[in-house]
């Protein structure tokens, strides 16, 4: 009798936990046990909801990045021929391609190419090579942030052409790059993200007269802006003798500014694209907003 009930309860828990069915579904399946089952399933649902916590976006991105590094280290240290061979081949190929293109002005052509262009894969390969040749983690984050601007332009272009598949593919690529930025910045230095370094600098939220931090140290949420001041000069960031000391908050400003610019560009384009690609475009906006929360600390 007890064993039979344990089987019934387990079946209901399986429906509730794994298959996402409701308590009513289970009670309807076992009406003769409904009275006993009801409060147990309510307890189970409470337990399931409480246990279903989500890792924060920042932790998820940071952990993923660090795991990728560990994976690559493991692959190379254990002599994974395939992995090392692929890496060397890719590096050699991109170097050759860039050297060939540099003389013929093709760099400019590929730089503007869109995902439906035959040169697009070359554009991505060149970006990858730029990354391979950038050694500081923070410089990498800044470079990838620049690339995200290109991804956004590509997404808008493909959305305007009604190419839903390429908008989705572009959003996935954008998402990967945004996660890399979060991982790189968090991996390098947690301090600059928690506002402690910024409080000293007295920087403002781009496009507003509000400080980047409140009195509680929290970074203000992204403003809805229609026009923005020019981005801080990247030269200025690194020319100052205090550049190293101030590098982190300055980089944060750049990343936040890029995030706002990208988000605004996508929002502005919403009315210019066919209805069929609007949902995919909204998804890209959501990805950027999640990134903004992670990078500014408001989503963590």
């Amino acid at each position: 009798m007890n064993k039979e009930f344990e089987n019934v309860l387990d079946d209901c828990l399986e429906r509730l936990i794994v298959r996402g069915e409701t308590i009513e579904d289970c009670l309807n399946a076992y009406p003769q046990r409904a009275d006993t089952l009801k409060s147990l399933l309510q307890t189970a649902l409470l337990t399931k909801n409480a246990a279903g916590i989500e890792p924060s976006p920042r932790f998820r991105a940071s952990a993923r990045y660090q795991f990728r590094i560990a994976l690559q280290k493991a692959a190379s240290s254990k002599g994974s021929f395939l992995s090392v061979w692929r890496f060397r081949l890719a590096t050699a190929l991109t170097t050759i391609i860039v050297m060939l293109m540099a003389g013929g002005g093709l760099v400019v052509a590929t730089g503007n190419s869109m995902p439906d262009s035959p040169f697009y894969s070359v554009k991505l390969a060149v970006e990858q090579m730029q990354l391979n040749l950038t050694f500081s983690e923070l410089d990498k984050a800044r470079l990838i942030s620049e690339f995200t601007g290109r991804r956004v332009s590509e997404i808008i272009h493909m959305a305007q052409k009604g190419d839903n598949d390429r908008v989705i593919a572009g959003t996935n690529l954008l998402n990967n790059q945004l996660e890399m930025i979060v991982g790189l910045t968090d991996y390098t230095n947690n301090l600059w993200l928690d506002g402690s370094a910024i409080k000293e600098s007295g920087q403002m939220v781009p496009g507003t007269d509000r400080p980047l931090t409140t009195t509680t140290g929290l970074i203000m949420p992204p403003p809805l802006v229609t026009s923005l001041p020019p981005s801080p000069s990247t030269d200025a960031v690194f020319q100052s003798p205090l550049a190293e000391e101030n590098e982190a908050p300055s980089l944060l400003t750049i990343l936040l500014q890029d995030g706002i610019d990208n988000s605004n560009a996508l929002r502005d384009s919403l009315s210019t694209v066919p209805e069929s690609t609007q949902p995919a475009l909204l998804e890209a906006i959501a990805v950027l907003e999640e990134y903004y929360d992670a990078i500014s600390g408001t989503g963590d």
Binding site: N2, K3, F5, E6, N7, L9, D10, L13, E14, I17, V18, K38, S39, L40, Q42, T43, A44, L46, T47, K48, N49, A50, A51, G52, I53, E54, P55, S56, P57, F59, R60, A63, R64, Q66, F67, R68, A70, L71, Q72, A74, A75, K78, S80, L82, S83, D293, G299, D300
Partner: protein, 178 residues
């Protein structure tokens, strides 16, 4: 199962993409399992990362002997939790309300969830060790009863009985009324 078997096989041969896929599949579940067992977000985050690093370094020793990959991974997590708790001289302090809740974007939902999490972590401390393990594996790890049984080295019938008694105890502790 077939797909996972082939993924694990590729991961054992240092295929980065295969291991990355396994990582994505189990990351959230391992995090939830550890969070429920430890009751502290920061520690849970560190330990979740460590579980996958440990799995990566010992994947070549993994063998299919009726034991699914998930069982192997959760055992790594379980051993890490046990080591962690052993190193602590007293029961962990529950700082879930200060940390895990901060990751939620919805304040209203967060408050409700926070209460639930805190209640759940504290409530599970009143269960037996075996009951706690069943609840963590089943509800946080979202594992089927067959895998929970394999991880715990018990029969499915024994795990179902533990599950039953654990839910009954939780109902009393949480004072769930119909």
């Amino acid at each position: 199962v077939q797909d996972e078997q082939s993924l694990v096989q590729r991961a054992r041969q240092h295929d980065e993409e295969a291991f990355a896929e396994l990582y994505e599949k189990y990351f959230d579940k391992i995090y939830r399992y550890i969070s429920l067992k430890i009751g502290n977000r920061i520690e849970a985050e560190d330990m979740t990362q460590q579980v996958f690093i440990n799995a990566l370094s010992s994947i070549s020793s993994f063998k299919w002997r009726g034991l699914p990959f998930s069982a192997w991974l959760f055992r790594i997590a379980h051993n890490q939790v046990v080591d962690h708790l052993r190193k602590k001289t007293r029961q962990p302090t529950f700082s879930l309300n200060e940390s895990i809740t901060a990751s939620n974007d919805n304040p209203q939902k967060m408050t409700e969830q926070n209460m639930d999490i805190e209640q759940l972590v504290l409530a599970t401390r009143n269960l037996t060790i075996a009951q706690q393990e069943v609840i963590a594996l089943r509800f946080a790890g979202e594992l089927p009863i067959s895998q929970v049984a394999k991880i715990m080295g018990k029969s499915e019938g024994a795990v179902k009985a533990l599950q039953h008694s654990a839910v009954v105890s939780l109902r009393k502790i949480l004072n769930v009324v119909q």
